[in-house]
């Protein structure tokens, strides 16, 4: 990765933009929010954008012939422009708003099953995923394979949490129709070599789908050079609201694909016998979309641009490196995933001695430290490492080293509480 010049921001000042970060919890303990890979917190500018939209501009989009409708439509489409620019999309029409990344991935999997011609997935075809996927990038492909008779295959990963690419040429072959993988693992934190895998996929004529749910929040993204054909991500992990996700797809592909959901706004004309469909992105946005949420996502993009994604990524690397260093000092702790801060995102899952992750998280919560405990919607990845569940701390642009220290103190306390060393 080339060094990108960027100005670091002051994390303490940035935290003042996030009202929730100054909250105190039961017992008066300050919140230490280490669950941003699950959902990030929101700056005041995003909260205000939602409120302002509802207070001043609320109306349906694209169909209301009045001033509020015009304003609302404009705001919604402005958000599309902002998102397109943020991810380097060659065209704004390549940005489809969905309700979340899960819906974006289901959209792709469904329309590839429905598509005729060369794009369609059929019996005898193969779909390749990885063993480190979130369930939302596993189940839609299982469903597609069950419906079409296609075969699902996957990349394994090693004990250190890196994809095993030794079988790349065998796994991705002339039968492969789709390769769908996560850019940054939500459980292991691994940053995968998307472009290398995409190159091989394109050699054999396969489409590449990237789950960028954990990548877009923390890395500078340029879909025009990534090598992917489709990229899915969600607003709420990138300081935006819930209820809004994005599917980016190459324009010529989207244009050839059939609709996913049918309804208002996705049509050109409708008779009782049949309908014709609008061009993308409207073809894939049936019904009233999440309007205020899109506006909020636009504000989130503005906020991230204000900090600079290079600076966000640099902070993420620094805080993750600090956390990995501190966590390896904790006796009985085993990090699941890369232990070096190289090609690694800001989610760190671990086991702590023999203490069940629920119990670890409960003890941490009593001290105000919010983490996730369980399988993090990545059961196969846990199974691969021979563990049933884990505790995950995840860091974001507002995380302070002090908060990592609070986590470590909490883990030491948990060991004492449950009488293990």
């Amino acid at each position: 990765m080339t060094a990108v010049a960027h100005e670091a921001y002051d994390v303490v000042t940035v935290r003042e933009d996030f009202p929730i970060l100054s909250r105190r919890l039961a017992g008066g303990v300050p919140l230490v929010y280490l669950d941003s890979a699950n959902s990030s917190q929101k700056p005041l500018s995003v909260i205000d954008a939602l409120s302002e939209h509802y207070q001043r501009h609320n109306a349906n989009v694209a169909r209301a012939m009045h001033q509020l409708g015009t304003e609302s439509s404009q705001a919604f489409e402005d958000a599309r422009d902002k998102v397109a620019a943020f991810i380097g999309a060659p065209s704004r029409d390549e940005v489809v708003f969905t309700k979340n990344a899960t819906e974006a991935l289901n959209l792709v999997a469904n329309v590839l099953g429905l598509a005729g011609g060369e794009l369609g997935v059929r019996s005898g075809d193969e779909v390749v995923i990885t063993a480190m996927e979130h369930h939302s990038n596993i189940v839609p492909w299982q469903l597609l394979c069950q419906r079409t008779g296609a075969t699902l295959r996957w990349f394994d990963f090693d004990d250190g949490g890196r994809l095993d690419l030794s079988q790349l040429d065998q796994l991705v072959n002339e039968r492969t129709k789709v390769v769908s993988l996560t850019w940054v693992s939500n459980m292991l934190g691994t940053v995968n070599p998307v472009s290398d895998i995409a190159r091989r996929a394109h050699e054999v004529g396969a489409l590449v789908v990237v789950d960028a749910s954990q990548a877009v929040p923390q890395l500078p993204v340029d879909v025009s050079t990534l090598g992917a054909d489709f990229v899915a991500f969600t607003g709420h992990k990138m300081v935006g609201p819930t209820g809004i996700g994005v599917l980016w797809g190459r324009r010529e592909l989207l244009a050839q694909l059939p609709p996913f959901l049918g309804g208002g706004e996705m049509i050109e004309t409708v008779t009782l016998q049949r309908s014709t469909y609008a061009p993308p992105p409207a073809r894939f946005e049936a019904g009233t979309p999440p309007i205020a949420q899109a506006v909020g996502l636009g504000a989130a993009v503005d906020y991230l641009n204000g900090l600079g994604m290079a600076a966000v990524a640099a902070h993420e690397r620094a805080i993750t490196a600090y956390a990995l260093g501190r966590l390896t000092e904790v006796g009985g702790l085993r990090v699941l995933g890369p232990t070096e801060p190289v090609d690694r995102g800001g989610a760190v899952s671990f086991e702590l001695a023999s203490i069940h992750p629920h119990d670890v998280a409960q003890v941490l919560d009593s001290r105000g430290v919010a983490v996730r405990a369980g399988h993090h919607c990545a059961k196969p990845a846990h199974a691969r490492l021979g563990v049933q569940s884990s505790t995950r701390a995840s860091f974001y642009l507002y995380t302070l080293p002090d908060e990592v220290d609070a986590l470590v103190d909490g883990l030491e306390f948990a060991k004492r509480y449950f009488g293990v060393d």
């Binding site: 017992g27 992750p357 009593s366 569940s389």
Partner: protein, 154 residues
Amino acid sequence: MQLDTLYREIILDHYKRPHHKGLREPYDAEVQHVNPACGDEITLRVRIDDDSVADVSYDAIGCSISQASVSVLTDLVIGKPVAEALTLHEEFLALMQGRGQVAPDEDRLEDGVAFAGVAQFPGRIKCALLGWMAWKDATAQAVARGAVREEDAS
């Protein structure tokens, strides 16, 4: 939140030294239950003999609350008539779902009263109920099979 409200000494004791753990034969029904939120799993077997709970055996992976809870369950129901064991199940369920407003009867629930605090931690109620729900399911299956066998015999 006061941790000790949740992690009562009795619970931690059952967690560290669970009673009746391990899968045993013979049994009339075996079930597998999972807590989808965290992936905790239990395999539980029930043997019914003469309308009584003759044995409950289990193998489980899970947190302290789920492990301790199934341990307490086995203490309570083994040796009891099925009908009485089912009313204990109802009482434990009511305690868990009572949002801290239900006063448990120690004469009835014995060590189970230690779980009263769990009701104040909504995220953990499913943990406490994992083994109990598995037991109810297995018992219903075992009773149904017993009824079929009796019919066949008559």
